[in-house]
């Protein structure tokens, strides 16, 4: 198989004595959607934080296109093409929906250093932002401050911001958590479209098993910070270790934190 776009090698982080991510090695290929599952507190979000640079690794390495990016901070990794949508919605609260997305478009264009132009003179950025807002079905909320949005729209905006970064690696952390049934398909359609483009590397943390089954090309299971299963969806879901470690929990609770 070709070289993975993104790879973690023995990636580890300790919080005091607690090992939240424990020697996780995995490669992620272009055109593949990998679902990352595991019970609450398994270390999924922490694993994401180590990949996108929000947390520094205690040990191990992250490689992008074969180049080690472990020493880089979050900003530099984003500029290299790693996009992240956060589990806990993370917006610019008093800026409008449009401004939230436009800031991502601007970041992608590398245009933040311009101090003399008027931002409103960049029609291209404004239109680009409107494109992603429409894709997330937020066009009616375009001029509302992010803080005024209902939860489901905040989640959509979170995703729209990542889309506007046009990364090569997309990291979704429970994108549909807490969304109403009407809103969920908007996000799932967006993810499916990305997948259909065929060249994107997509990582998806998701608790809902039906979503995982319908989208994932591959499933990685984390448990207590360790990678305990990795493979085709059918194999992984059927394996005893997953039945015991994860699906047992999900079948009872079904929820998430």
């Amino acid at each position: 198989m070709s070289r993975p776009v993104l790879e973690t090698r023995d990636l580890t982080i300790r919080f005091g004595g607690h090992v939240a991510v424990d020697h996780v090695s995995a490669g992620f290929h272009a055109g593949t959607l990998t679902a990352i599952v595991g019970p609450n507190g398994a270390g999924k979000t922490t694993y994401f934080n180590l990949i996108s640079g929000q947390l520094p690794a205690s040990a191990g390495a992250v490689h992008l296109d074969g180049t080690e990016i472990t020493p880089l901070g979050a900003a530099a990794r984003t500029r290299l093409g790693i996009g992240r949508a956060f589990q806990l919605t993370n917006l610019f609260p008093s800026l409008t929906v449009h401004e939230n997305v436009r800031l991502a478009v601007q970041a992608r264009a590398g245009g933040g250093g311009n101090i003399l132009a008027r931002w409103s003179s960049r029609r291209d950025w404004i239109e680009r932002a409107d494109h992603f807002i429409a894709a997330a079905n937020l066009q009616d909320k375009r001029d509302l401050p992010a803080v005024a949005l209902p939860h489901g729209d905040k989640r959509k905006l979170e995703v729209a911001i990542m889309m506007a970064l046009e990364p090569r690696v997309f990291m979704f952390d429970e994108p549909t958590a807490g969304m109403s049934v009407d809103d969920v398909p908007v996000i799932l359609d967006l993810i499916r479209k990305l997948k259909d483009e065929g060249d994107k590397t997509i990582l998806l943390v998701e608790h809902k098993m039906d979503v995982v089954k319908s989208l994932a090309d591959r499933i990685v299971v984390l448990h207590n910070g360790r990678l305990v299963a990795d493979g085709e969806p059918i194999e992984v879901i059927g394996s005893p270790i997953v039945q015991e470690a994860y699906l047992g929990v999900a079948a009872n609770g079904g929820g998430h934190g």
Binding site: T78, F86, L91, P93, R108, G112
Partner: protein
């Protein structure tokens, strides 16, 4: 046209627009509508403080940086031009050299403070700026051979700006065009240009990143913006503007000293003006500076009159004594923050919506 001059950031409130127009017209024609030094001095001070407060708003209101070193940069501008004119003669070239040196010193200092300490938590940054600014004020006081110490330095300005200078012999609209009038217009036009430049900066792609950092620096970083660099750049820009404000002030006063530039009281005044006017609005700087300085100059007088008028009553004349003006200003401040947490501009814009 107006949209372009204001960088697309219109006042967005009728009352606010009207107030801004009145302030602009009065400041633009001050030498012709007022006689008497106090009104002109007050007008010039308002011009200088609009720049100073707007540059502080760039830091506090737009970027979310709490700095107590703003008067230090203001002082660097004042001392730069003042000491150059004092030491190297009253020529334009010494003024220009002093200004360039002051700008360079101010920006380098802002860069160093920024790069070393903007990574740390906001409260530590505030403390660092407080320490540096205090050290600078002490230094300026100690090096009295150069700075004139606590007394400061009075200096002569270039010929063109002296009171005795006449641009033309006959008065224009009843006013002699003296060097002082020319000096006033240098202050006014510079302040106007600097304010509009500040408005442009906050409405540029760069300025929008500053707001993003204020709102959520974690997410700004996650979008790929190196927040430390943006914060440091904002720090340097604000410092540069404060240096220029200080230089204008020195040119106008023909004096530079610790009380008019470096004192902590001025830092507090700036904070009050930003908050009263409305943080993160730029126009708040205009309203805040104007109201505050007018109050500072005329509230005392008004209170003197009121104190006399109530002489016969108990307690009241004491409360109304001009020395208590800060107490009243304090009360006004608390009330205005309580009733208009978003400042006057925020309140006016909200009413419209």
């Amino acid at each position: 046209m107006i949209n372009a001059v204001l960088s697309g950031d219109l006042p967005r409130s009728r009352v606010l627009s009207a107030a801004l127009v009145v302030i602009l017209v009065v400041l633009a024609s001050a030498p012709f509508i007022f006689d008497g030094a106090q009104a002109i001095n007050t007008s010039a001070k308002i011009c200088v403080f609009i720049v100073l407060v707007a540059s502080y708003d760039l830091l506090l209101g737009y970027t979310g940086i709490v700095s107590f070193a703003h008067t230090m940069f203001y002082g660097i501008g004042g001392y730069g031009v003042g000491l150059a004119l004092y030491g190297w003669g009253a020529t334009w070239s010494s003024a220009a050299t002093g200004l360039v040196l002051a700008l360079a010193a101010g920006i380098v200092l802002a860069l160093v403070i920024g790069l070393f300490s903007l990574r740390v938590r906001a409260i530590f940054y505030a403390m660092v700026t407080l320490a540096v600014a205090s050290a600078f004020a002490i230094l300026a006081g100690q090096l009295s051979d150069i700075t004139g110490g606590e007394d400061g330095r009075s200096f002569r300005v270039p010929e063109l700006l002296r009171p005795g200078f006449r641009l033309i012999d006959a008065p224009v609209l009843g006013t002699q065009i003296t060097g002082r009038v020319i000096a006033y217009y240098i202050v006014f036009v510079s302040a106007l240009v600097l304010f509009l430049a500040g408005l442009r900066i906050v409405n540029s792609p760069f300025g929008r990143v500053l707001q993003a950092i204020r709102e959520n620096d974690f997410r700004a970083e996650a979008l790929g913006y190196r927040t430390v660099y943006y914060r440091t750049a904002a720090n340097c820009l604000a410092a540069g503007m404060a240096v220029l404000a200080g230089a204008l002030n020195a040119l106008w006063l023909r004096y530079t000293g610790p009380d008019t530039t470096l004192s902590f009281a001025i830092m507090l005044d700036i904070l009050l003006m930003v908050v009263i006017g409305g943080m993160g609005t730029m126009y708040g700087a205009v309203l805040g500076a104007t109201l505050f300085i007018v109050a500072q100059n005329y509230l005392q007088k008004l209170m003197g009159t009121a104190s006399k008028a109530t002489e016969a009553l108990p307690l009241l004349p004491n409360l109304l004594h001009p020395d208590r003006w800060l107490l009243w200003l304090g009360i006004l401040f608390v009330l205005s923050v309580y009733f208009f947490p978003t400042g006057i501009v925020g309140k006016l814009r909200q009413r419209r919506g």
